[in-house]
Amino acid sequence: MDISLEVNGTTHQLSADPGVTLLDALRERLDITGPKKGCDRGQCGACTVHVGGRPVLACLTLAATVRQPVTTVEGLSTDDSLHPVQQAFLDQDALQCGFCTSGQIMSAVAAVTQDVQDVREFMSGNLCRCSAYPNIVAAVEQARRADASV
């Protein structure tokens, strides 16, 4: 079926089976590979993207059902400047292998935007086997301070 997807400000037309997930559409059809496939069944969070400004698991979302604009980690930064959350992840060394990082950052952006009470709880849908968890919390706190100062 024909699908129209707005991703990071660009609208793409593609033809894909109704069973194609948003994650596979992004990665295999549009070559947008920031979102990662860590489990393909909503258990790890590495595929987290924003749809209409809300975090969703791209592996559990069928591409054909997406109506609102999609933002991936690639859409947060410009060539010149990082998003405050991305900068905070760098500053706090909130990553090691980096495979979960795209999803962590998309969840962290939501944590900052929603001004969540319990950062650890909110970020617990994103697994990090390198176990950078304390640094991820520090990054969210840093980004929250940066957000407050804007």
Partner: protein
């Protein structure tokens, strides 16, 4: 300069991991796995799969892709899929479907019908203990059973019988899996120059060797590329099944092929950590001096007996001064997925047993567990003459005790409302190793340098270390150094494994820097060059002579060159005949156990480490912290439950529990920095694995301190604590 040089690419999604590569005409492979644990495949009906939409090929043992068993000096033979009809474990790769899209390949794979001649499967370590086999000699050549006895002592039994205080217990650790976030995957492309493979792996040069051997092509025709690896931890040392299959299928079909294991497949189609059973007897004098240490170990292994999880040989053999020592290692071959190196192989489960046993001895002696460990501090492994090159374990414990508030610990924990609070500690040790490494340094006319070796940086920080050691060795700022890693076309070195990356590649960087500085000095004074005939010195990236100076870039431009290169190689040498080498650490943990639900929460963690020189404080701290959390995970979360028929009951991320953010408190990491230049010129001993060692025992010891309940099997689950009464707290608070 960021503390992690590849950080900017990773936080923006621009770092391309293996499966992130896409090529025109690329097709998708999906691996078919066995659904029995032991037997022979009688037939595979691929008709429906072959005629499914988009399918290009279905490979099976009856119509296999041609692959040979490759062998490398480091790993020996690596199994390749589908070359016979034998099934030795559940979830073994037995087929490969290639189609135009991922979805088509997956759908068609479900249509493959397999019939088996099934045989009884042996999947229980406990059931196999009685018929266990002696393990082959350890990596250092030590026999599976050995004893070091004091003069006049006939046996370890005699030594134990003569000990005033004796403790004995049996410990068990479960099957584990690396569970790196990046599933094993590959994109394979054949061109005129041969094969290029993009696949996360711990050493591109070894991956290229294995692929060349498997495909029976010259090594020069295989190019392995993996600048980014989504976690490895030992699980991506060997080349993975999807890499072999994608490479062979891409050759057969003349199309680029992408293949990735699903998360569920990763748990059976790759290798994990063996389960262990360990029996430890300790005999001590009443002042705590160890008289006898006996540590008997059993581990599971696969039917190929491809890996032995050596628990007693890598812990009790070396950790404590004892007058008498006896260790053994046996293995139980089972119809389970292959076993392999996993972060602190041997040391992680071995330290759970030994450091729990030491804690039990401390309780029996009514002695502080730190005092007991310091009493038995070893200057050298028992029975060996080679002393530790640089050991500051006592300082780690003293500093740690002060930082953690150990003086406030009561032998019976304390309570805080409905929570029982306890503290535990454990020793951590990990050998300091090095592997041969070659590094090339290129000085360029723009006054920058490139430091290159093949290896990999699966989150370890080695890429950044190359830049830092390169800059220091070349006497220039790190921002002028471009490190390169993760490409088999580069000089072989920088394998990510054994906590060796910094010591191995770093030393080679220093040697290469001397060589390239020599080369640039020779160039400077050569005929026609700016310093012709003069004595020239090198400092700050500049050439100096007779009051004149110029940068190496200016010299290169003046001599019409764009660059100058040299390589340096390093390998373990005669230092191994002079000292024993290891890193050391003191682990501390505080747990809170709920009085009614017995929920266990880790509330504080501290590790103090003596790991030689630390090159990059932030990345080293992060790696150690991750290792410590791995120890918590082993103690309280993860374990692969293998059912009697060989199927993992919890082989996905919903069932195989890993800590999530809310499980982990702040973690305090501290280094005592004593550069160990007896081991290598850089003075660094590696931090990749030691953070994991001992932590599971520290958690279990803290649980005992809090509750009075000794759990000798990890992971500790609520039932372990619900089934027994907790010790009545002696008072309301500490």
């Amino acid at each position: 300069m960021p503390s992690r040089l590849d950080g900017p690419l990773k936080v923006t999604g621009r770092a391309r991991y293996g499966a992130d590569h896409n090529f025109p005409g690329m097709v998708y492979g999906y691996v078919v796995l066995s659904t029995i644990a032991h037997g022979e495949i009688q037939a595979m009906d691929c008709t429906a799969a072959m005629s499914a939409p988009g399918v290009l090929a279905v490979y099976s043992p009856f119509d296999p892709l041609e692959l040979r068993t490759p062998s490398t000096p480091l790993f020996g033979e690596t199994r390749v899929p589908m070359q016979d009809k034998d099934v030795t474990h559940y979830g073994q790769p037995i087929g490969f479907v290639v189609a135009q899209t991922f979805e088509q390949a997956r759908d068609a794979a479900m249509l493959v019908g397999v019939s088996y001649h099934a045989r009884p499967a042996h999947t229980s370590l406990e059931d196999g203990l009685a018929t266990a086999e002696d393990a082959p000699p350890a990596r250092d050549g030590a026999p599976p059973t050995l004893a070091v006895l004091a003069p006049g002592v006939e046996s370890i039994e005699d030594a134990l019988a003569a000990s005033p205080v004796v403790t004995e217990a049996t410990y068990a650790t479960t099957t584990q899996h690396h569970a790196a976030m990046e599933p094993h995957s590959a994109v394979a492309v054949w061109g005129q120059d041969g094969l290029t493979v993009y696949s996360g792996n711990q050493a591109t040069h070894l991956q290229a060797m294995e692929l060349a051997g498997a495909l029976d092509v010259d090594l020069s025709r295989v190019h392995a590329v993996n600048p980014f690896v989504g976690g490895a931890f030992g699980g991506k040392a060997r080349t993975s099944a999807p890499a072999f299959l994608a490479a062979a299928a891409a050759r057969a079909l003349g199309r680029p092929v992408k293949a990735a294991l699903t998360r569920e497949q990763v748990f059976t189609a790759t290798a994990g950590r063996a389960a262990t059973v360990q029996r430890i007897s300790l005999g001590a004098a009443t002042d705590g001096t160890l008289i006898a240490v006996r540590h008997d170990s059993w581990c599971s292994t696969d039917t190929d007996r491809s890996f032995v999880e050596q628990t007693s040989h890598v812990t009790s053999r070396e950790w404590y001064a004892t007058q008498n020592l006896a260790i053994s290692q046996r293995m139980v071959p089972l119809n389970v997925p292959p076993t392999t190196f996993m972060r602190a192989p041997g040391e992680a489960p071995g330290s759970f047993a030994l450091e729990s046993a030491i804690d039990e001895l401390a309780v029996a002696l009514r002695m502080d567990p730190i005092q007991l460990r310091m009493r038995n501090n070893s200057a050298a492994p028992p029975g060996k003459d080679l002393q530790w090159s640089s050991k500051h374990l006592d300082e780690c414990f003293q500093l740690g005790a002060a930082r953690f508030g150990w003086a406030n610990r009561s032998p019976h924990g304390h309570t805080d409302g409905d929570w029982l609070v306890g503290m535990g500690t454990a020793t951590a040790m990990f050998p300091a190793l090095r592997f041969p490494a070659t590094v090339e340094i290129t000085l360029r006319a723009d006054d920058t340098a490139v430091v290159a070796t093949s290896g990999a940086d699966p989150g370890t920080g080695l890429l950044t270390v190359l830049a830092l050691v390169g800059a220091e060795s070349l006497d220039i700022t790190p921002d002028r150094v471009t490190p390169r890693l993760g490409d088999s076309a580069l000089p072989p070195g920088g394998l990510s494994g054994g906590s060796t990356g910094t010591a191995s590649a770093g030393t080679a960087v220093m040697i290469a820097a001397v060589a390239v500085i020599d080369a640039v000095l020779t160039l400077a004074s050569s005929p026609g060059a700016p310093f012709e005939g003069h004595e020239v010195l090198y400092a700050d990236g500049r050439l100096l002579s007779d009051g004149r100076s110029m940068t190496f870039g200016e010299l290169l431009r003046a001599t019409g060159r764009t660059s100058i290169s040299a390589t340096g190689s390093s390998a373990p040498g005669e230092e191994m005949t002079k000292h024993s080498f290891a890193s050391f650490g003191a682990q501390f943990c505080e747990v809170r156990v709920h009085k009614w639900t017995r929920e266990i929460r880790v509330s504080r963690l501290l590790g103090v480490f003596d790991a030689g020189r630390i090159i990059n404080d932030q990345t080293a701290r992060s790696q150690i912290m991750g290792g410590m959390i791995w120890g918590v995970s082993a103690a309280l979360h993860e374990g692969l439950e293998i059912e009697a028929n060989g199927r993992p009951a919890n082989g996905d991320f919903a069932g195989y529990l890993l800590p999530v953010n809310a499980d982990i408190p702040d973690v305090d990491v501290h280094f005592v920095e004593y550069p160990d230049t007896l081991h290598n010129a850089v003075g660094a001993r590696g931090v990749g694995e030691i953070g994991t060692v001992g932590m599971a025992a520290a958690v279990a010891n803290a649980v005992h301190n809090a509750t009075g309940i000794r759990v000798r099997r990890i992971p500790i689950v609520l039932e372990d604590l619900l089934d027994q009464p907790v010790r009545a707290p002696s008072s309301g608070s500490r």
